[in-house]
């Protein structure tokens, strides 16, 4: 697949705010912001990320139960 390459201007700021009041708010500036925007337009081909995406589908299939729990399960 071909990708669209963007020239992302530096000196941009990106703000990451948790919606529910949890976690750390982060403001990204300059190169950090450019890196984020480039990633949005061109998803990383990092082999670790792509391999983990595949494994995550397997892990979900293996572990996830759609049945909620409120009681201790028994064998």
């Amino acid at each position: 697949m071909s990708s669209v390459v963007a020239t992302v201007p530096f000196l941009m700021a990106v703000e990451i705010n948790p919606a529910g009041g949890f976690g750390e708010s982060v403001s990204l500036h300059g190169a950090d912001a450019a890196r984020f925007l480039d990633e949005v337009l061109n998803p990383s081909t990092d082999e670790r990320r792509l391999a983990f995406l595949k494994r995550s589908d397997e892990a979900f299939e293996r572990l996830f139960s759609s049945e909620p729990i409120s009681e201790l399960p028994t064998e």
């Binding site: 697949m1 071909s2 990708s3 669209v4 963007a6 020239t7 201007p9 941009m12 700021a13 990106v14 703000e15 990451i16 705010n17 948790p18 919606a19 529910g20 949890f22 976690g23 750390e24 982060v26 403001s27 990204l28 190169a31 950090d32 890196r35 984020f36 925007l37 990633e39 949005v40 337009l41 061109n42 998803p43 990383s44 990092d46 670790r48 990320r49 792509l50 391999a51 983990f52 995406l53 494994r55 995550s56 589908d57 397997e58 892990a59 979900f60 299939e61 293996r62 572990l63 996830f64 139960s65 049945e67 909620p68 729990i69 409120s70 009681e71 201790l72 399960p73 028994t74 064998e75």
Partner: protein
């Protein structure tokens, strides 16, 4: 029965409540580790309950009735977003039509010390990522976010997470604090139609 990841719903029965209270992720490697203490107390001390009651977050338990303790680990998730500041909103909207990215935040993730070192953390993170991937098929969800224990940044990076701030910025922070990281849930961008591509390239030039 193999380990299962199941969403916790209220009210808890007494036996499950005791299992939750018994959770302990503070092994030898987590002495004087305030982030790990927070992860431990959030579940074992019941601090997850108010946000669960109010529908702000969801808590998932990794359990296996064949092992002792039955509760292997847990994770609490909440919806979040990656936003652009006002100064960049317009430019970003012009580039790709949106200025805000949906995200699922891993608010907490922990493995009981009696089950650590057996790959459960990787499996739990994988299942959560798989869950986020499925949610992203129905709702606008591009990233998985985590406030990683600074001692675990390498572990997250080994799974493809990247820090939201460069190391030079991170080094300025309190070493006991967590590091904001993100994971892109998208395999790759779908190829746009040729006409759309031409318009997009023209907009970027």
């Amino acid at each position: 029965m193999a380990p299962q990841l199941r969403q916790l719903v209220l009210p808890l029965d007494d036996r499950l409540f005791r299992a939750v209270r018994d959770f302990d992720c503070l092994g030898e490697g987590h002495r004087d580790d305030p982030v790990a203490e927070n992860v431990n107390g959030f579940l074992a001390e019941g601090r997850f309950l108010p946000s669960l009651e109010q529908g702000i977050s969801s808590t998932y338990l990794l359990l296996d009735p064949k092992v002792n303790p039955i509760l292997i680990g847990y994770s609490t998730l909440t919806f979040d977003s990656v936003r652009l500041t006002n100064a960049e909103r317009r430019q970003m909207e012009e580039l790709i039509g949106i200025a805000e990215f949906g995200a699922l935040r891993i608010q907490m993730i922990g493995i009981d010390r009696r089950h650590q070192g057996q790959g459960h953390g990787r499996a739990l993170l994988g299942a959560i990522t798989g869950l986020a991937r499925r949610l992203s098929q129905d709702v606008a969800l591009r990233f998985l976010l985590a406030d990683a224990n600074v001692r675990k940044v390498g572990w997250y990076e080994s799974h493809g997470f990247v820090a939201n701030r460069a190391a030079r910025e991170r080094n300025r922070t309190d070493p006991e604090r967590s590091i904001s990281m993100r994971f892109d849930l998208l395999d790759a961008l779908r190829d746009p139609e040729p006409e759309d591509r031409a318009l997009l390239v023209a907009a970027l030039e």
